[in-house]
Amino acid sequence: MTGFEAVILTIVTAATPLLIAALGELVTERSGVLNLGVEGMMIVGAVTGFAGAQLTGSPYLGVVASMIGGMALAGLFGFLVLRLAANQVASGLALTLLGLGLSGMIGEAFIGQPGLKLERIHIPFLTDLPVVGQVLFGQDPLVYASVALAVCVSRFLFRTRAGLALRAVGNNHGSAHMLGVHVIRTRFLAVLFGGACSGLAGGYLSLAYTPQWVEGMTAGRGWIALALVVFASWMPLRAAVGAYLFGGALILQFHAQAEGIPVPPQFLSALPYIATVAALVILSRDRWRARNDSPACLGQVFVPDR
């Protein structure tokens, strides 16, 4: 494997959890719900995924467990903001705080255990092709799943009636209700989907990226995923592009350190966060476009008249 291949491979694995989490949040936000609890759902997904794999011996069941973990938290969030009309910003923060606490408690038993790794696929001949073989045909299954997910989400949102209804709910919930679209149900499903994706993204970290449980191992990736949704202006395929750019920024620091660049490692570690801020600022400068694309009802409470 060449150095170039290694870089591409690590970028892909760094980008995948960002992409999965961002796609879930993108669907949630398209329905008009702002769930700031991505980080919390992700870390819970990471620990339930790890625990699931350890207890069953199968990393694939671990993947399922990570999605269930994320969905459980998302369900709680959905109940709060959709049934009880609670403030979405505060509820999302609460979810993150609760998720960080819960994951710490659940994960205590698993600290230091060697994890089960989601193996990379190997297709004879194809994977062995020079340069592109490993990158195109030698990734773990979730990498392919994440790319497929981006395409599916895009098709769902813009080519199906259910996707149209979901966008309509996010655009004007009052009108959607008047037309007989089930606003709360649509949003709840979107929130659950977001939770499953966040959980899965966390599971990817503890099962494929670094197969072990470390407290706080999401390290702000949930927040970066949230920024990615804004960066992608709520378009799934743009989110994919953004995820790979951010993945590149995350990986850059490791390679810069390995190359022995004389900069303190903390500065390099800060780069992805600074890049996120920079991306957010540059994007919001173009306010006209942002206002056109963002779901108009984002973060607003809907209580139907009866």
Partner: protein
């Protein structure tokens, strides 16, 4: 059966204060279930966690010590949240406040005198304000969401601190531990009694100042109007940008003050873990205290108790002290859930009738 919300014509003034108590009761129930699930006698565990720390002087002191930064940050956040400014990066402002406040004591340890401590505190405040001014500027100038930018800066601040105490500010006599030199006596906030220090008095003064600002002054009215209805604020002649800028920098300054007060008054030096997440827990304090400065004081004491209770439960029952974070998250979730009673009446419909009105149940 299903629940239906009916909006009250006016917010219930009673529920504003009953809701946190109800949330607390629900947290105890949740705690009992959690302890039982972990195989402990729920009543005994709840006693160890929430009551026992109140029975000895050391724990009471410790509660005050921990409540001090929470209250300082919490009142600032209450002001920001009321202005509808979502500063969730207080942890970063706290850290930068601690770092800036430490510039004099660490880099110029030979500087002494009665003016040193005020200078240290002012540096801390300015550091926190400056760190908060970054997302404030981006929000006001470019319209970037302060939620994400302020949060990202938390990680940057923590890495900055980490670099300082492992690099240029590492104590040469510290056996290579990642920590700065100890503050000289003149840079230390004087003790009040035991572990308690004068930072608590400063915090109470800050609480009183913000209570007056918010409740009695035109400036505070301006913050509240901008937060509740920015268009009405502009119509009244208030500046939305100015209010956002001010709310963020004031809350940042208070977080910075909390940071340097903790380092100078409680810890005595910089090291990488100067905060058990005060900046985030203070968000809970702000909400639990009804975004009301005086309420925040009580909420901070309660949240400080969850920290101490966690330690107490770890010692007495062998339960992970991570449970403190779980309790804190649960309290916030229950408060937010109970707040539904302030604006809505709950109607319980029997399942049959609910089906006839079928819509929208998830």
């Amino acid at each position: 059966m299903r629940i239906e919300l009916r909006q009250r014509t006016e917010d219930s003034r009673l529920m504003v204060w009953l809701s946190p108590l109800l949330a607390l009761a629900l947290t105890f129930v949740f705690g009992a279930v959690l302890f039982a699930a972990l195989g402990h006698d729920p009543l005994r565990a709840l006693y160890v966690y929430f009551v026992k720390p109140l029975t000895d002087a050391w724990s009471l002191e410790e509660i005050v010590v921990k409540a001090t930064p929470l209250a300082l940050i919490g009142v600032g956040l209450a002001l920001a949240f009321r202005t509808n400014v979502w500063n969730i990066g207080a942890e970063g402002q706290y850290t930068v406040g601690a770092v800036c406040g430490s510039i004099l004591p660490v880099m110029l340890p030979e500087v002494q005198g009665p003016l040193l401590l005020p200078a240290v505190l002012v540096c801390g405040v300015l550091g926190g304000m400056a760190w908060a001014a970054i997302p404030a500027f981006f929000r006001v100038r470019f319209g970037s969401s302060e939620i994400l930018t302020s949060l990202m800066l938390v990680y940057v601040a923590q890495l900055l601190l980490d670099w300082l105490v492992r690099g240029p500010w590492r104590d040469p006599e510290g056996y290579n531990f990642p920590e700065s030199r100890l503050f000289e006596a003149d840079a230390v906030i004087p003790a009040l009694a035991g572990r308690m220090h004068f930072g608590t008095v400063i915090a109470l003064l800050a609480v009183a100042a913000l209570a007056i600002l918010l409740g009695r002054t035109l400036k505070g009215f301006e913050f509240r109007v901008i937060g509740a209805a920015p268009r009405a604020g502009a119509f009244a002649g208030f500046s939305e940008r100015g209010s956002i800028m001010a709310a963020l920098t004031i809350s940042g300054g208070l977080a910075g003050l909390a940071g340097i007060a903790e380092v100078s008054g409680t810890i005595g030096q910089l090291h990488p873990s100067i905060s058990p997440g005060y900046g985030f827990t203070a968000i809970i304090a702000a909400f639990l205290g009804r975004l009301n400065p005086v309420g925040v004081v009580f909420a901070s004491l309660l949240l400080a108790l969850t920290y101490i209770g966690g330690e107490s439960a770890q010692v007495a029952l062998g339960i992970s002290d991570k449970i403190a974070r779980v309790f804190q998250g649960a309290i916030l979730i229950f408060v937010l859930a109970c707040d539904v009673f302030i604006r809505y009446r709950l109607h319980f419909l029997p399942a049959r009738r609910a089906a006839a009105r079928a819509e929208d149940a998830p």
